[in-house]
């Protein structure tokens, strides 16, 4: 056992500072024994000669400068992983909390992971049918993609995520070879319970691994939680060959924890007090989605974040959108109109869709048709703005058709029951039905050959 240090120099917020540590290792994990019985975990985040700055995941409150014993592990944060993690519940630091005992594993895994070599990646091309029209038709989810949900307080992002979990059909032969890793980041107990219940109802509980850092758990542990979850996901995907879906919610709480550490360290902030490295830090999580060549398994990531003040330009959604492969944006006004799922079509995007839909994947008409819906619906927004001013009656005939198109798109296509599963063909056919409302000359995004083949058929 290594030596224990019995004195701190300073303890403040999430940090403790120690002098006279001659051989600390950057990034190593330390155990902090407080008042002889309680153990906390910290990580070395800066070394200056003999002075060491440690970030304490449970915070420094209650720590006194001389009633502690700090021992350095010499190792980065690791968790044991084996097949047994399926069906289990862990806390935000990766410790089992379901009373079913420790995980016995041959190996401990460094939770920080390592960057995937771009040469080793396999470009994701296979779509996941979620049974939700808006998503399948307009922002198709691809296996191995990172596609977050940009939401707001009180919007039904949890329901949407739960519906995706329940309905996602990867493909028949792969059923039974999937897994779900769920990371709760500062969400409330009832939200976590909602997910647990949703997994149960979907009959997938035995294939779910949960890491829970709830609203009343230590805030700094939130920095560890997604890393534990993604390490578990990498294990399940690339060592066990499973198709893994990772749900992380709420990334906003994660970022706030990061901001807290940064300001405790008195770092120069960039926008809204968030550290300049927020982008790189988020990327170190989001980029852990994907697939590998010559290796079974995949990690599909659905991160949920609540946009502060519904502002998509806030650094959290902004930097997320710069990293992830698209975004599903939820909209408060649609929700208030009673539309579930309240997906705001225009700012939503699936970047991997372009290579995962069309002739060899979904249907030949899919790409053009989706393009046309986006284009026409954006026209609807313009015309609605005009109608606000001059009144709907004053609109030209064609503009009124657009108004009708917008209404029907929202009512017949976007709006869908929480329990309702729509097949992709049904979704695409509905889109063609909507196209019938508009004059044919307006459909400039669709190849004339396809128009002839599919319109009014």
């Amino acid at each position: 056992m290594k030596i224990k240090y019995l004195k701190l120099d300073k303890a403040e917020g999430p940090l403790i500072i120690m002098d006279e540590v001659p051989d600390a290792i950057y990034g190593e994990i330390v155990d902090i024994e407080v008042s002889g019985n309680e153990h906390r975990t910290g990580q070395v985040i800066q070394i200056d000669k003999n002075k060491v700055i440690i970030q304490v995941f449970q915070g420094s409150s209650g720590i006194s400068l001389d009633e502690v014993a700090v021992s350095f592990s010499g190792k980065p944060m690791q968790i044991p992983l084996s097949h047994e993690i399926l069906g289990r519940v862990f806390n935000g630091m990766g410790k089992p909390i379901d009373g079913a005992g420790e995980i016995y594993a041959h190996q401990d895994y460094n939770i920080n992971g390592r960057p995937m070599n771009p040469v080793a990646r396999l470009y994701p091309r296979n779509y996941i049918q979620t049974g939700i029209s808006t998503i399948d038709g307009l922002m198709t989810l691809i296996r191995g993609q990172k596609l977050p949900i940009f939401s707001g307080d009180g919007l039904p992002h949890n329901q949407l995520a739960a519906q995706i979990v329940r309905q996602a059909r990867i493909s028949e032969e792969e059923a039974g070879n999937f897994a779900i890793v769920f990371a709760a980041l500062g969400i409330k107990h009832d939200e976590a319970d909602f997910f647990a219940k949703a997994f149960e109802e979907a009959g997938v509980m035995d294939w779910v691994t949960m890491f829970l850092n709830l609203a009343d758990d230590p805030v700094m542990e939130r920095i560890i939680t997604p890393r534990c979850a993604l390490t578990a996901a990498e294990y399940l995907a690339f060592e066990c060959g499973r198709e893994v879906l990772v749900i992380m919610t709420d990334m906003t709480s994660y970022c706030e924890a990061l901001r807290e550490i940064s300001s405790a360290r008195e770092e120069v902030p960039s926008r809204k007090g968030y550290p300049g490295y927020l982008y790189s830090d988020l990327a170190s999580l989001y980029e852990r989605a994907g697939m590998l060549k010559n290796t079974k398994g995949s990690i599909t990531q659905i991160a949920i974040l609540t946009m502060p003040n519904d502002d998509i330009t806030h650094p959290i959604p902004d930097l997320t959108g710069y990293i992830t492969e698209g975004q599903i944006v939820l909209d408060r006004s649609l929700y208030q109109l009673g539309i579930y799922p309240p997906i705001n079509i225009l700012p939503s995007l699936s970047r991997l869709m372009k290579d995962g839909i069309g002739k060899e994947f979904t249907r030949e008409d899919h790409p053009d048709l989706a393009n046309q819906v986006f284009s026409s619906y954006s026209k609807v927004q313009e015309i609605r703005a005009l109608a606000q001013i001059i009144g709907e009656d004053e609109l030209s005939e064609i503009d009124r058709k657009y108004m009708e198109f917008g209404r029907q798109l929202e009512e017949k296509f976007a709006k869908q029951d929480f329990e309702e599963y729509r097949d992709l063909n049904q979704t695409l056919d509905t889109m063609w039905k909507l196209m019938e409302i508009l004059p044919e000359e307006e459909l400039t995004r669709i190849d004339p050959v396809l128009l002839k083949k599919y319109l009014r058929k």
Partner: protein, 595 residues
């Protein structure tokens, strides 16, 4: 401690070490037991500050820092093309082949393949006098590039020994030069060059050639020049990467250097999967045979992100020196600037705007300055065009990186979130974008395409600007209220937007348009406008003038023109003339009838 430092401070990528008196600023060093690669960024007394290009987790206080005696440099020689490197030229395929699905630390300094034998044709003989830049050997490196081994800058002399044609590795000595002072130089197929130092040229030349991209909105509206600079700013999802990929695929450069700087891993993978399958439109060879990839994805170490830009531009300069036209894409320069910011913050430098260091503007300028059309030391001409993506925080173009970049570059392609939401791609906003190269390229356009091309372009821009003004009214009162001579402007503007400016990167017919077709398309639209407008002026109502089928066929002509098809455009022109001739006649008859 002879030439060895001792680590005393670790904060992410920034490490300090003592006993560094023998080290130099900008020297490349190896840090700790794992021999992490780093670079000395400052020295004060005997303490050196080092930026480390690999993850420092696991580094311990008092570990040693080893000198390499040289600045951060690249190995430049055959084996670069078709390859993918990390930010400091370590070959990612080789790391993968060695089992690196995930990139470990401490892989050391590896770069080009030292074992590979290259079929070398010697182009000099014993007794020849060679100076810096002179070519002494040719290697067919890929189907598209002849690699020319050159005398490194700063060296000249007489060939006193040279090997015969044959197969050689980059470690073999190819020839020996003796200079006037009696020094011997052993030259090999590869040379080294420090990344932060621009390679010398004989002379910079004026820009006068178009960099053809096949992208209509770029080539004819906001053109790039060979040797010029361009920026593509835009919020997330507005199309920066797709535009860069389009340029990498279809521009008529000889060589592409594509730097994935702090962006997605899958986007690099996509290039690696697609480019070998795509054929260069001019030669039919696979596009990867003229492409070099540098990847520092967003989750790779941030210090190497800062270096990746220099690695890319140095490779570009090396091929320019051979007489090639190189186009360099950096996606995204904002991530590079953020890497500067992060390192600067850890160095506790005084921040200027938004936490960026005060030297941001000068670093940006120095980078873009390495573009240019040049007469090389060996007398050949070559160029580097730089196209940098910019990712403004919150999509706001007033932030520092966009602002400073805008001051420097010649072409500014402003991507627009609204257009992207409406899936108008490329979402290049025609009112906010500009190209400073239009006037210097006008001779080129006249010679190579048509003398009236730029004139038609101005006319089309005029229509778009007029439309923009009219739309302010339309937004308040609707389109119907406008008189027909204004509504026709809206209709023609719609055709320009849908039928010309929009270009679908994934549609096999639309992804690339050759210049003669770009011109013909504009001619068709121009003809339609002239004839339709004249009819309106005659008092013929818009409902008659706007022949739906004709208008829609013109909007869709882009889907039928992957090759040169003069007859298609001729046919459209005839249809336009036919329709409006008869419309005018009918109307004249009609009005005489009424008389």
């Amino acid at each position: 401690m002879d030439g060895k430092g001792k680590v005393i401070y670790i904060n992410g990528p920034v490490v300090k070490a003592e006993h560094m008196v023998d080290f130099k600023v900008r020297e490349m060093v190896m840090v700790g037991e794992k021999k992490l690669i780093g670079e000395v960024i400052s020295l004060e007394e005997e303490i050196g500050t080092i930026q480390v290009y690999e993850d420092t987790t696991g580094l311990r206080i008092a570990e040693e820092v080893y000198s390499t005696g040289k600045p951060l440099s690249l190995r430049l020689g055959p084996g670069i093309i078709g390859n993918i490197f990390d930010g400091i030229e370590r070959p990612l395929s080789k790391i993968y082949a060695g089992g690196g699905q995930f990139i470990p630390e401490g892989i050391g300094l590896i770069s080009l393949d030292e074992e590979k034998l290259w079929n070398t044709e010697i182009t000099v003989k014993k007794g020849d006098l060679l100076k810096s830049g002179d070519v002494f050997a040719h290697i067919q490196e890929t189907s598209m590039i002849i690699h020319k081994a050159m005398v490194p800058p700063g060296i000249k002399g007489k060939v006193i020994r040279v090997v015969d044609n044959g197969y050689y590795t980059i470690r073999d000595t190819i020839l020996i030069l003796l200079d006037e002072e009696g020094n011997n130089y052993e030259l090999k197929l590869a040379q080294e060059w420090p990344v932060r130092q621009p390679r010398p040229v004989r002379q910079r030349m004026p820009l006068e050639k178009l960099l053809i991209t096949g992208q209509r909105v770029i080539d004819t509206f906001f053109p790039l020049a060979k040797g010029g600079t361009a920026a593509i700013p835009g919020g997330f999802g507005t199309g920066k990467t797709i535009t860069q990929h389009q340029l990498a695929k279809w521009s008529d450069a000889d060589l592409i250097v594509y730097i994935g700087c702090g962006e997605r891993g899958n986007e690099m993978t996509e290039v690696l999967e697609d480019f070998p399958k795509l054929k260069d439109p001019n030669t039919g060879n696979p596009l990867l045979d003229r492409t070099v990839l540098i990847a520092n994805t967003s989750n790779m170490p941030v210090a190497a992100r800062e270096a990746s830009i220099y690695t890319g531009i140095t490779i570009a300069e090396y091929f320019r020196d051979m007489g090639y036209n190189v186009a360099l894409m950096a996606d995204s320069t904002s991530r590079w600037a953020e890497a500067l910011r992060e390192i600067s913050g850890r160095l506790e430098e005084m921040p200027a705007e938004e936490g960026y260091p005060a030297y941001l503007a000068s670093r940006l300028a120095a980078f873009y300055e390495r573009a240019g059309y040049c007469k090389n030391l060996n007398g050949t001409e070559g160029s580097i065009s730089i196209i940098g993506a910019v990712s403004p925080a919150g999509g706001d173009f007033s932030e520092p990186v966009t602002k400073y970049t805008k001051r420097i570059v010649g072409t500014f392609l402003a991507l627009d979130r609204e257009l992207a939401h409406a899936r108008h791609f490329p979402s290049i906003n025609w009112l906010l974008s500009y190209s400073n190269y239009i006037s210097i390229l006008s001779d080129w356009f006249s010679d190579k395409v048509a003398s009236d091309l730029m004139e038609i372009r101005s006319k089309m821009m005029g229509i778009l600007q007029e439309e923009n003004k009219l739309m302010d009214i339309v937004k308040l009162v609707g389109e119907d209220v406008l008189p027909d001579d204004q509504r026709i402007i809206l209709e023609i503007a719609r055709i320009i937007k849908v039928g010309y400016l929009q270009q679908n990167a994934f549609h096999p017919q639309d992804l690339y348009t050759i210049l003669p077709n770009q011109y013909s398309m504009l001619k068709v639209i121009d003809k339609l406008y002239d004839r339709a407008y004249a009819c309106i002026k005659e008092g013929i109502p818009l409902s008659q003038v706007k022949e739906e089928k004709l208008f829609s066929d013109i909007s869709l002509m882009k889907y039928q023109i992957s090759e040169e098809k003069p007859e298609l455009f001729q046919e459209l022109i005839e249809r336009i003339n036919g329709y409006y001739d008869s419309l005018e006649n009918r109307y004249k008859e009609g009005s005489t009838d009424e008389d």
